[in-house]
Symmetry: C2
Subunit: 381 residues, 2 copies
């Protein structure tokens, strides 16, 4: 556990520009970004100036204090109401504190607090915060956190590369198990074990091994139905290394592919290759999607093309641009240093089967490099 002073200083500068008196951290990804560690309950406040405040369970305080020394303040709690009081007291102090000269005041006079609103921010905590702190306007912390987190530092890219290599080990294991009679659950079990032994902490999403007609699924699961000869199998692996997420998806056919399966696969492959070749600074997901759509149309699969071929990835499994979740992200321009996936969407014939191939790329000034080159062939196993 340590306070990343550089990141906090940069966050505070952005908060002042945006008129935020503080960030309320409630998620593992933001917590790890500032404090470098997975904490069981990630609860912290970054004020616009001064040291951060960590909100800690009472019995964990001595360990925290030893590692943090004076780099952060610590408020302790033994129950939820104490936790909530600590948050309320801290924000009340912020509301009356001296604000930096560059501070952008809010038009309605209420101070603003930034918060992440994504899949891992529980709705009840946001509502509770609003109820207990009516003097604040709660706004999205994305303008601050995206500015910091979209472009990765070299050490972050290295961890993402490690995570992607761990995913590759899991995919090797999954592929060697693929045969009729084996279930998606058995494959997921072995792939997860392989990845954890290779250093994954766990996965950022459940492992998907979508078999047969379930290869159509937009996300997925790993069920106990035995694979049959001729099934399409989509394997999607998302191990994490020190919080950094990998994303590796491959599709296999067990046995000899049918004509339609081969057509789906070769179309996806062309879309995947054209998209990765087009990755470069300034391009948007909307532009990347149009490339894939043209390819799908030419292949007679235009009706089944889904927008959202690319998304950001880092400490969160889906970061800005996360265009299948936030439509405005379709116009976000890629920048050098970003890490993005190619191949997020499934190309499926409804009721029959689908294909997905996904890899992670590091955007460079010249284009993009894959974090790990996992083979796109063979299709048939």
């Amino acid at each position: 556990m340590h306070v990343n002073v550089d990141r906090i200083t940069r966050a505070q500068r952005l908060m002042a520009e945006r008129g935020l008196v503080g960030l309320m951290i409630l998620t593992h990804d933001d917590f790890r970004y500032f404090f470098g560690e997975l904490r069981a309950q990630p609860r912290a406040i970054i004020p616009v100036s001064g040291p951060p405040l960590l909100i800690s369970f009472a019995a964990e305080e001595p360990e925290l204090r030893d590692s943090l020394a004076d780099s952060a303040a610590i408020a302790v709690f033994s129950d939820v109401s104490q936790q909530m009081s600590a948050v309320r007291d801290a924000f009340n102090m912020l509301a009356t504190a001296d604000l930096p000269p560059s501070f952008a005041a809010s038009p309605d006079g209420r101070h603003r607090v930034g918060m992440q609103f994504f899949f891992h921010t529980p709705a009840f905590l946001v509502d509770l915060f609003r109820k207990l702190n009516p003097q604040f306007e709660i706004v999205s912390s994305d303008p601050v956190m995206d500015t910091l987190r979209m472009v990765k530092e070299p050490a972050e890219v290295e961890l993402m590369r490690q995570a992607q290599m761990v995913a590759a080990r899991g995919m090797d294991r999954a592929r060697e198990l693929l045969r009729p009679g084996v279930s998606g659950h058995e494959i997921a079990t072995e792939a997860l074990y392989t990845m954890m032994k290779a250093g994954a902490e766990g996965t950022s999403t459940p492992i998907h091994v979508n078999t047969g007609r379930r290869s159509c699924w937009i996300h997925g699961t790993a069920d106990s139905r035995p694979i049959e000869s001729g099934d399409l199998v989509v394997v999607n692996l998302t191990p994490q290394v020190e919080g950094y997420c990998a994303n590796l998806a491959r599709t296999y056919v067990v046995g000899h592919p049918a004509e339609w399966q081969h057509h789906l696969y070769s179309t996806y492959l062309r879309m995947h290759q054209a998209t990765r070749d087009a990755l470069r600074p300034e391009i948007t997901v909307m532009e990347l999607d149009s490339i894939g759509k043209t390819i799908c149309r030419a292949a007679g699969l235009g009706d089944h093309h889904i927008d959202g071929i690319c998304h950001g990835i880092g400490l969160r499994f889906e970061e800005t641009p996360a265009s299948t979740i936030v439509k405005a992200h379709r116009r976000v321009k890629l920048r050098p240093g970003m890490t993005v996936t190619v191949g997020h969407t499934t190309l499926a014939l409804p009721g029959l089967g689908g294909v997905r191939l996904e890899d992670v790329f590091h955007v460079t000034s010249a284009g993009a490099e894959p974090l790990f080159r996992y083979p796109l062939e063979p299709f048939s196993v």
Copy 2:
């Protein structure tokens, strides 16, 4: 996939009594309760009368339609804006539909929609729903869902028993690996693999193997620090079987326990046994906590006692009464048929180490039975 007509009918009766025109389902636990299956994106609407509406990705529709026949309506989407439109259109229809004669109208004229607000309800979806459906008041679905879900059906208890047996297999594996030099992560890796091979789909929370002073943690993680001789190790396992959650925690000392470790352990053991002996219909978590507090005080550990010894468990890892999250749940009375844990809280000497022992019990008219009797000894391994 199937529609549980009985549960939906009972939900609709409760919704009419409470004046809810519909439930908006956004979480796996509620979705599985009504539809019996893990779906990648759990999105459904239960109207106060008539069949449920499932909101499905377009390519998944044929599979859904085959399994559901006419028992549910299906709205399909290919992107998030279509998904949101489907929800808005469905609720607009509900607002003008014929309501049951027993329907309790809202005082302010706005119709009410019920929604779960817990850890797995993303804040941004609730805010988006509010923005798109301003004609509705969003209220907690707990009064409906708790009434249905707190008391388990026999088949649910059987699945919970299976999950607890899977957890026991994982604990056996964890215990046999415990020795100096092994890390929490290695133990978690092997325990998870054992549990998945025994039929766990995964776990409802990350596996905790809290070693050394991290045994103080309120929740936990599994880190790579090698265990040292004399370390306390808290192992907390939460496998799921068909969505139903187990919870099994044990604490071991690696080597010979120090006096303070033995004292913590024996005090926790007395608190655990007294609490399980006191489990019976009508008792509250508040009353159960007072039993434990008396024991901790007598042992000179009163300052370190934490409230919340017991919580509900089922399709969600923490269900009503979840008194460490919702304070009002401290006064919820247990009822025959409920499944609850005993041993949720850590008893810790801050900075030194802590102890936790947790099991799941089925409340009966006479008292309570453990779902699986996992040994509470040995402490020292």
